[in-house]
């Protein structure tokens, strides 16, 4: 029974189920479950079979933790162990997929070490990695 109605984006749902799609992959998925004439709503009846398939196929699984580490190291070739705040902002907003201002701010607030104004990515990874039990 629907009682209290609050809006959660489809992306949030999919991601919190353990999937780690890129924005592009997410848009494709949404296109699969949307109505012919997009109403802004997704119907559960349509969502369920598609999502079940995604989970069974283990699609969009997050890559292992050390891949994530290597990704940071690509952006930090001199292997300092950290990225400066400006570097992170630049890479997140100029490389990769579109990344909003707000996402950037939130990422920084959690990641940044206020004293050095830099992001020690090994620690950051440890925080972001959630065990999938």
């Amino acid at each position: 029974m629907r009682r209290i109605i609050q809006w959660i984006e489809i992306g949030t749902i999919i991601r919190s189920l353990g999937c780690c799609p890129s924005e592009g992959e997410l848009h494709d998925l949404i296109a699969e479950v949307e109505e012919e004439e997009p109403t802004g709503y997704i119907r559960f009846e349509k969502f369920l079979p598609v999502m079940t398939e995604v989970l069974l196929e283990r699609r969009y699984r997050p890559s292992p933790e050390d891949t994530l580490l290597r990704a940071f190291e690509v952006l930090d070739p001199s292997k300092r162990g950290f990225l400066t705040k400006e570097e992170l902002i630049k890479y997140m907003t100029e490389e990769g997929e579109p990344f909003s201002q707000e996402e950037m701010e939130e990422m920084l607030s959690a990641a940044i070490d206020p004293e050095s104004n830099s992001i020690h990515y090994k620690d950051y990874i440890a925080m972001m990695v959630v065990d999938d039990s």
Binding site: I4, Q6, T12, R15, S22, P98, S100, E102, E103, M127
Partner: protein, 768 residues
């Protein structure tokens, strides 16, 4: 559409990636590597953020469902009492008097009496009093001084409180039900939502937005009191500004401006605690003041502001005409002395719902609403006449009564009423309850008609929903859910632009819905818990474009990251949830056992989720919450007995009190406290042992609690620690360590020290 959590908004700007990488990137061997690396990091980040958002959402749901369940309880409680009043045959004069005493509202004093009631002039203010002193007519400086004084944590003397309330009442009486404001005079109007006793938020609003003035109009949209700890101060400030700037400062009534709701949600307690000598007088006059609050405000004939919402039956003309003073409480329609109606004449031939008795207000009106999904398996034909009457009281009857009454709050109650019929055993013409003053004062205002009452309930209790249509608001127990078409219909009918309402807490302090035709504005930040939500207010200029300002009145939370904030609030929500789970331990055990036919002691996690929902009925995503509530489970199974024991250990620290009794009391403690306050109608803080026993008896039969009479007597005696034949509410609640935190914030000397019943050496309730 609602405002989305910010990290899930579609990004508004972006630049393409590797195509524009320039020299200031270092030379990657493969530019694509950088792109992929960045994408990977983003994906991880978004997944992490999504999980946080889920947690936040679950936390919100927990708080909200517990809050609404509490409201439902409140309604059920009052329905229960109403049902008793209508149908219960007291077995003795004693019982009859007791019920009368509880349900008979005191006559509404006439004006002269009301004057006497305020009687503030005789109250002396000692020289030692350093708080603000008011003189009337109030000047703007007085109002400002009040704000300042309260900011410095001073308390206004009872004499001035009463004086102010008296003047407030005089002013309110002249106001129409629907206030009209124009942006011609004051160029902008600021509308604020629920404050719920949170003075910090009010002070912040005045600080940030400016104090009220002829150029700065304000509308406060109800729910000024309850839950927070400074409801009195908020009222004083709001009333003072209203008196000083009557044309620019407006108040709407909310569902909490209601003495019955106040009994449960803390305002009554706050008044009695702050004003020990004059609190009763203050509460009495407040009861009246609340009824005189206007119901709605209209800006430029275009923007309608009211507390809850609307229904498809909302009729602004009727609302404008009715006598709002008649609506004492939106929880019970009948407020005057109950007079028995001869049971026989009217109802026999006519179908029950059309009888002289009004249909219970919480039922959907069949002609206007679509078939409610709640009307499941309507037991065959509509109730045809009355089968059995309620027998006179006796042990078997209590059960019968309990069975019928228990499922109150929904259609069953109505069916029960109809099936039970009217007491056939009573002689014709004998009144249901004999009241001492059987001839009521002729001058008393008549009761509101069912239609008038429903109109007011609807605007004070309804919530918007996304689907089209209009259906009964069963979550709250009052008003309805109204869809976008209902809003559209209303706006068109009265040529309005949009609706502003409050009544619901929103994470961002505000929320648009129904294609921006409905704006919810909620001004109590950190409502559920520190960090739970922002507050907001909205400003309207002559163009009537809403401009929203958000805030959060707690600096500490700004320093925390989103993750930390969510963790704190989450912990608090989970604690409340665990308490609730504990309070239903016996039922849960029963349900678990049903899923464990082989008596292995284990059940699957998905059975666990099913069982928990069927007992608690909070509509929460239990599978998602499971990791936080069940600490260990192997192979997706749970050893339920030890899980329940674990819960109990958390909640209890002494095992001597029979745990099922404790559990029952714990589960019902808000109800019990409310009942206590209802019985204690003179607000003395005491009820007699006998009253306690009586009410417990009635209550336990309603709640199907298995407790013998003896046990109740023992319980009563054991609670009366100082053996004076009276139970003080603190004794009562403290006996089970249920004294609320707010008590400890007040004057410490007034509150009993929290003692362990083991140590105190007092007798404990004996096990039957």
């Amino acid at each position: 559409m609602s405002s989305l959590p910010f990290w899930n908004k579609k990004p508004c700007t972006y630049t393409m990636g590797s195509g524009t990488s320039t020299q200031h990137h270092f030379a990657f061997q493969n530019a694509e590597k950088a792109f992929r690396a960045a994408t990977l990091i983003q994906r991880w980040y978004r997944r992490y953020a999504a999980r946080l958002e889920m947690r936040r959402h679950c936390t919100w749901r927990i708080f909200q469902s517990i809050e609404y369940a509490g409201q439902q309880d409140q309604v059920k409680l009052h329905d229960f009492f109403s049902y008793l009043v209508d149908h219960f045959t007291p077995s003795s004069n004693h019982e009859r008097d007791f019920l009368n005493h509880m349900f008979t509202e005191k006559t509404f004093p006439q004006d002269a009496e009301m004057e006497k009631l305020s009687d503030y002039e005789s109250i002396e203010v000692p020289d030692s009093y350093t708080g603000p002193r008011l003189s009337f007519p109030l000047l703007p400086d007085h109002a400002t001084a009040l704000v300042e004084a309260f900011r410095l944590k001073q308390q206004l003397h009872a004499r001035y409180v009463l004086n102010l309330l008296h003047e407030t009442r005089k002013h309110l009486v002249q106001l129409p039900n629907i206030n009209r404001v124009s942006t011609c005079y004051s160029e902008e109007v600021t509308v604020c939502g629920d404050l719920h006793g949170q003075l910090d938020d009010l002070i912040f609003i005045f600080y940030k937005n400016g104090l009220p003035s002829p150029e700065k109009a304000y509308v406060f949209n109800g729910d000024f009191v309850d839950r927070g700890k400074d409801s009195v101060e908020i009222l004083m400030v709001l009333f003072a500004f209203m008196l000083v700037y009557p044309k620019e400062f407006h108040l709407n009534r909310g569902n909490h401006e209601d003495y019955m709701v106040n009994l449960r949600y803390g305002f009554t307690k706050e008044v009695m605690h702050k004003y020990k000598i004059h609190g009763k007088k203050i509460l009495k006059i407040l009861q009246d003041v609340f009824c005189w609050l206007p119901l709605a405000t209209l800006i430029d004939e275009k923007v309608l502001i009211l507390h809850g919402g609307v229904s498809d039956m909302t009729d602004l003309e009727l609302l404008a005409k009715l006598d709002r003073h008649k609506i004492v409480s939106t929880l019970r329609r009948k407020t005057r002395k109950e007079h028995g109606k001869p049971a026989t004449t009217q109802e026999k031939a006519t179908p029950p719902s059309c009888a002289g008795r009004p249909t219970p207000w919480f039922l959907p009106q069949s002609r206007s609403l679509p078939a409610s999904p709640l009307r499941l398996g309507s037991r065959g034909a509509p109730c045809a006449g009355r089968s059995s009457s309620i027998p006179c009281s006796g042990p078997a009857d209590a059960e019968d009564l309990a069975r019928r009454v228990r499922r109150s709050g929904d259609l069953e109650l109505d069916r029960g009423r109809q099936q039970a019929g009217f007491p056939g055993s009573r002689a014709q013409g004998e009144p249901l309850l004999v009241t001492p003053e059987a001839d009521s004062d002729a001058d008393e205002p008549p009761e509101p008609t069912p239609e008038e009452w429903k109109q007011v309930v609807d605007i004070l209790w309804s919530d918007p929903m996304a689907q089209e249509g209009c259906k009964a608001n069963t979550v709250r127990g009052g008003g309805c859910y109204f869809g976008p078409n209902v809003t559209e219909q209303l706006l068109q009918k009265y040529n309005l632009q949009f609706l502003i309402r409050s009544h619901e807490c929103k994470p961002e302090g505000y929320e648009f819905c129904h294609s921006r035709k409905v704006l919810t504005i909620f001004s109590a930040s950190n409502y559920y818990e520190v960090g739970s939500n922002r507050g907001a207010y909205v400003k309207l200029g002559p163009a009537l474009t809403p401009y929203i300002v958000q805030y959060q009145a707690n600096k500490a939370t700004h320093m925390l990251t989103m993750r930390q904030r969510i963790s704190r609030v989450e912990e608090s929500a989970l604690r409340s949830l665990r308490e609730k789970l504990f309070a239903h331990s016996s039922h849960l055990l029963g349900e678990f056992k049903k899923h464990d036919a082989d008596k292995t002691g284990f059940i699957s996690l998905s059975d666990w989720a099913e069982a928990v929902e069927s007992v608690l009925r909070l509509g929460l995503p239990w599978r998602m919450l499971r990791p936080q509530l069940v600490s260990s489970s192997m192979d997706n199974t749970l050893e339920y007995k030890s899980w329940l024991e674990g819960l109990a250990k958390e909640q209890l620290s002494h095992e001597n009190i029979q745990s099922s009794l404790l559990e029952t009391l714990y589960r019902n403690r808000s109800n019990l406290e409310t009942i206590f306050r209802i019985i204690d109608s003179d607000h003395s803080g005491f009820i007699s042992l006998d009253e306690f026993r009586q009410i417990w008896k009635l209550f336990s039969s309603h709640m199907n609690i298995d407790i013998t009479d003896d046990c109740i007597c023992d319980l009563a005696r054991s609670i009366d620690f100082n053996k004076d034949g009276h139970i003080d509410i603190n004794e009562f609640l403290e006996a089970f360590r249920l004294v609320e935190q707010s008590c400890t914030e007040g004057d410490a000397s007034d509150c009993p020290q929290a003692t362990n019943t083991n140590d105190s050496g007092c007798s404990k309730p004996s096990t039957p």
